[in-house]
Symmetry: C2
Subunit: 255 residues, 2 copies
């Protein structure tokens, strides 16, 4: 689907806690859906450790391959929060104390009566030339350098940051999606699906198996930006399912 | 933690359904825990689309960087199941019909009275020279080429495959973990944590914030292979938390 209107993004999840299995990432599904609504395809995701070399390698691989890159995690006040320094290294820019971010933190901690420790001030550090991303939940901002958007790992804060930057994203056409399900094993419908995919090269057809009361079935997801093509493919899919003895229903049944 | 006993692994999750947000990956947390028990660190994960170039790039980047690589997804009978062909391309080996896999599928479909369609036979295709990985759930096997293990995406099948291969994995020392939590904001404990990390460079100290009844706290996770070091660090952490007015409790409170 090498469409000129296809705009792509990558997500880099930063954090040992995800790779140890301790914390389940919740940012990928949110970002996938939000980007999709704006006509941006989440084309890859990576989960990397809190190690500068790993973050630099992922940021540099992704920012040259995809239109947008989002990182989550590693922007707090503790020693294991090294995302800002790593992104600075990836862009070969110095890490500076961002004056506007510092002012925001000073005002916030003055207002709340808590001490602005050196550790908390670290949250004002960004690569030189970064643009801040507002954090209306807990003040410490994210930031943007070129096509890389650095966001918090905590889902509520990540989502608030995304909402504040989303207006800037230029998407392509929204990817539409329809799903038909029927109690037909994948191995039975596979040949017909291949024919259907060949007939509609501009669409993406995915097959997801399920078991319902011990009987195998498949949910077939058809995605694309051309609504007429999408509807035509789904009608042919419905006929295919009927021919194979299935009772197609609109919607997903696979897990 | 450049420890000679550190054995590393990467996970490559293959599937548009994960990147569209439609399906939540459940294999990463399972694999992280299983590997950890065997002294293998899950050091990176990638989620890539059902596109050959993307799979080849990820497999080749990871198999030269990490001791073990696991892939999940894309080994079913339908047109969008291209993992075997992509892994063959990554190793520059021909894709062949594996005789043993074919025999297994023929016996299975004969026994169940279902038709062994061409699509189902595709599940016997592997790169030349691959070793099969048993699938006691639904027969169609995974396979191994050098340090790359190709597993199913459906969690129950993936887990059965992992269990059948796990005996072959050579791990390092098991990574032990202890966690102390206290109602101390990260910005308050950060300086002490940095000192602690500096004093125990062989351990990995992670800080995860939480809110409890509106009060900020932090769960501090200490991980390492040396139990004496680990226990010593945790005792120093306990003293640090008490000094900062917290009431440390063993265990995790962060989400």
């Amino acid at each position: 689907m090498a469409d000129p209107r296809r705009v792509t993004a990558a997500l880099i999840v930063i954090g040992n806690e995800i790779l140890s299995g301790r914390t389940k990432d919740a940012n990928l599904p949110y970002l996938a859906e939000q980007l999709n609504q704006r006509g941006i395809v989440l084309a890859e995701a990576r989960v990397v450790r809190d190690e500068q070399d790993a973050i630099v390698a992922a940021v540099n691989a992704c920012r040259t391959t995809f239109d947008y890159v989002f990182t989550t995690g590693g922007i707090g006040p503790t020693h294991d929060d090294i995302t800002a320094a790593a992104v600075a290294a990836a862009f070969d820019r110095p890490l500076i104390r961002h004056p506007e971010a510092e002012s925001m933190l000073r005002a916030f901690y003055e207002r709340t009566g808590r001490e602005l420790t050196a550790a908390r001030l670290k949250m004002a550090d960004t690569p030189e030339g970064a643009t801040l991303i507002e954090n209306r939940i807990s003040t410490a901002p994210g930031f943007q350098v070129e096509n890389v958007f650095v966001l918090a790992g905590i889902p509520s804060v990540m989502q608030a940051m995304f909402e504040s930057l989303a207006g800037q994203l230029e998407g392509g056409a929204e990817v539409l999606s329809r799903t038909l399900s029927a109690d037909i094993p994948e191995g039975t419908i596979a040949a017909g699906l291949q024919t259907l995919q060949d007939a509609f090269p501009g669409l993406e057809i995915g097959s997801y198996p399920y078991f319902s009361e011990g009987r195998p079935g498949a949910s077939i997801v058809v995605r694309g930006i051309d609504k007429a093509q999408l509807d035509a493919a789904v009608e042919r899919l419905r006929v295919l399912m009927l021919e194979l003895g299935g009772a197609p229903v609109e919607g997903n049944r696979a897990g």
